[in-house]
Structure formats: C-alpha cells, structure tokens
C-alpha cells in the first residue's frame, strides 16, 4: 500500500546570490568557459552559479537585492578593468567571465584576512555559517595583522530578545539583517550606527532589540551569514558558557 502522505524528496537549496529576474529576454555568456543563458538583468553571480561555478559570497543572497559590500565575490570580466563584484555586475551578451585566478584568490584571501582581524579567533573553528564556508573556500583561517589592533571583540552581546541574540563581535557589517528587515519584513527596525570602522548594527535608536521596533520575525537571523544574529535555542546552557568565553 502506498503512503497516502509521501514525503517529497529534499532538494539541496542553491542560493543564486541575487534575486532571479523574470523576463523573456535572455543573454548568453560564458563563465570559466561554460556557456550559460540567463534572463536579461541577471547578475554575473547568478549566471556563474547557474553555470555550476562556485563564487564565494557573504553580503549576497538571492532573497535580497545585490549590495556589493563584502568584496569576496570579485571576478574578472574580459575587456573590463579591475575586479568587479559579481553580485552587482550585470550579465551581458557575449561576456567572458573568470571566477578563479591567482589574483582573485589573493584578493579574496586579503579581504578574508581583514574580516578575521576583527572576528573572535575562538569562533573560527566549529562554526557552520556562510562566513565559515567562505573561510573554507578561500582557505583563510587567520590573519597576519597580529593581536592588539582595533576590534569589536569586547562589544556587549544583546540577549534582550527571548528568541535570538546579537553578538557584535561576529558581525561582518554586511547589512543583510538590515536589508532583510527592510526588503522582506518591511519593519525598518535595523540600521547602521556610526560609520567606517565604528559601523555597528543598531536596533531602532541603538536600543536593545527587545525595546526596539523589532517584531521578532527572525528574518535578520535567517539572513545573517556569520552567526552574529543567532537563535538562543542553540545555546541551552547560555551563550557565553557554550560559545565565547567571556
């Protein structure tokens, strides 16, 4: 007798990096020699992923519009100067894209070293976030800048919300939480306070999450690529005790 409620096969979710465009017009380009056809207006990143290539990414995800801040998705495009971010570069007919070269690997490592110079060393191992995935992809697990530089490692963890916490030490300032709050939830509760190195994610007027306009929808937690916004249920013994030793 057949199961009246068959469980559908689980499909591996592929994050296309930028939102798919729906249009009849298409462009055909090559990514690392692989020909791929995508709807007009698609990003180079989406085309690369459709072509089966892997492009490291942190600030890009296909539920949010491209932002171009993290600088690990850089590619080379034949006939174009420099190393454009594949999330904000738009695929064009006949474009020849390279996602891998010695220079791209060096640049991605250089950027990851900068991230890691302001990331808790004890959280490099054992993490499961997209940030950790990019560490693997770029084979970068440390940085050459030494200890004692400016950092956010001692910033207070906001545990005011009953469901999730925010650890600024693990925040890579990719704005995904802010954009999720705006673009997906429409709550506009989050922003960046300060600028430059002092940029930090803030809820409402730099209030604790619970006191802010946050409605606890969780869109920011889902969007966070670095476990800075993370569900409390993962740490039943308490965040400090299980994760970062205070």
């Amino acid at each position: 007798m057949t199961d009246p409620h068959p469980v559908p096969a689980l499909h591996e979710e592929i994050d296309l990096g930028t939102p798919p465009r729906v249009t009849d017009a298409t462009v055909t380009l090559t990514v690392d020699g692989v020909e791929v056809t995508v709807p007009e207006g698609s990003s180079v990143m989406l085309a690369a992923i459709q072509a089966g290539r892997t492009v490291p990414k942190l600030c890009a995800t296909d539920t949010l519009e491209a932002f171009g801040s993290c600088r690990v998705c850089l590619v080379e495009i034949e006939g174009q100067r420099g190393y454009p971010a594949s999330c904000t570069a738009i695929a064009a007919e006949g474009m020849e894209v390279r996602t891998d070269s010695e220079m791209l690997a060096k640049l991605r490592r250089g950027v990851m070293e900068l991230y890691l110079s302001d990331f808790p060393a004890e959280d490099v191992q054992g993490g499961w976030s997209e940030f950790h995935e990019v560490m693997e992809q770029t084979q970068t697990f440390g940085h050459p800048y030494g200890d004692g530089g400016a950092n956010h490692l001692d910033a207070a963890v906001d545990e005011s919300n009953p469901y999730f916490l925010f650890d600024p030490a693990k925040c890579i300032v990719c704005h995904r939480c802010i954009r999720a709050c705006e673009e997906i939830q429409g709550t506009f509760a989050l922003t960046i306070d300060g600028r430059g190195f002092g940029s930090t994610v803030a809820a409402s007027q730099s209030e604790p999450f619970l006191d802010s306009e946050c409605v606890s929808c969780g869109a920011c937690v889902l969007a966070c690529p670095s476990q800075a916004l993370v569900e409390k249920s993962l740490y039943p013994e308490g965040y400090r005790a299980e994760c970062r030793q205070a």
Partner: protein, 244 residues
Amino acid sequence: MLESLEGKRGMIRPKPPLPALEGLFGEPTVVNNVITLATVPWILEHGAEAYAAFGTGRSRGTIPVQLAGNVKQGGLVEVPFGVTLRDLIEGFGAGTASGRPFKAVQIGGPLGAWFDDSRLDTPLDYEALAAQDGGIVGHGGLVVFDDTVDMAAMARFAMEFCALESCGKCTPCRVGSVRGVELIDRIAAGADLERDVALLDDLCDTMTHGSLCALGGLTPLPVQSALRRYPQDFGLARDRRPAS
C-alpha cells in the same frame, strides 16, 4: 551624494547602473563637478575649438590648480594642461615658504601620489602623471613639503584619512584603513620591518583592487608612492624599492 539627497545614509552606490541612466530617485541624473560647469560659459562664448586649443596630448583645456602647503605663493592658478610641476611649484609658487629644500609634492588631492624632485619635470596632464607610478590629476591639488617632512607620517595620514572618511560599507576600506594605520605605526617602531612593509604592500593591493569606491581604491596611492620614493623615511635602505 545621491543617497544623501534622497535622505538616506551617505553610502556609495555600486555602478552599474550609471547615474546618467538611473540616478536620483531612480531617474536619469547628470553629475558634474563645479570645474565642468564653470567651464561651460567660456566654451559657449569662445567655441569648443578655442578651448581645445589649450592643453596637450589627450588632456585638452585648462585646469584650476590649488597650490598649497609649504609654498611661498599659494592659491588658485588656472593653467592649460601640460604645464610642468616644476613651473607650478617654482614658478607660480616661487618655491617653498620656509626657504628650505623641496622634498615632496602630493598631486591630485589627499588620495594622490607623491612626487619627488626627480619627477618635477612631469607635465600636469592625465597621461603623463599616470605614467609615473599611476599618478592622478584628481581635483588639481598640489601640496608642497620641504625636507623636514616625514613621509612615513604622511603615509600614515593617508590611511588615517581613509579611516576617518570611510562610510564603512566595504571591507577593504572599513577594516583595511584601520589596519593600515596600525601597520605604519608598527613599521615606525621597526621591530619587524621587512615583514610589516611587505604586509603593508599586500594590504594596499587588497584595498586598490578590492574596494568598492575610489576612497579605498586610491588611498594606497600616497602610501605606496611614499614607500617607493622615500624608503629611508620608513627605516628602509635608501636604494630599496619594495615590490609593487
């Protein structure tokens, strides 16, 4: 600027789309600087050919140069492209205000490259400057220093300027500029000079090629040109030329 005009946080927008296609409030927007707008009436009065008769090579017309720093006669001079840096500093500027020997001039603005005496016969034009360590015309600023300037301190200032001005959007600029200041301080302390200088060069490459906008992308220009042209100010041997 467009973000600010729209009432948002002043952060760089990635291009494309170019503002000419999709700018202020999503509408086509022409962005011009004041020099361009100020030039238009003269061109309308005298004709494009008369304006193009000024200049040299592909750099046509004139540029208002801001002569500043340690120079006897500072101020604004509008010159045709092609006038040499020496003409500007020693001619219009009448040399250093202190009377001490000239050491360095920063061309283009706070993100411009440093030029030493051996390169002062370079004409002020886009191509000639670019041929010298990637120099830029920028906004036409010339800031002159005499032989008392410490070029490692000037390199530090470039990184500090970037850190102060950084909007914080992209990582090479947001974190890189802070690490740059720290590295130059370590270089000044001199404990592990060779390693730290190589690391500074690497960091500059990451910022040059990885930054989202020209602030992080050009900051390495004054840092690396100071390092290349004045290695002794960083405690390095005079003949040393760090790899680019």
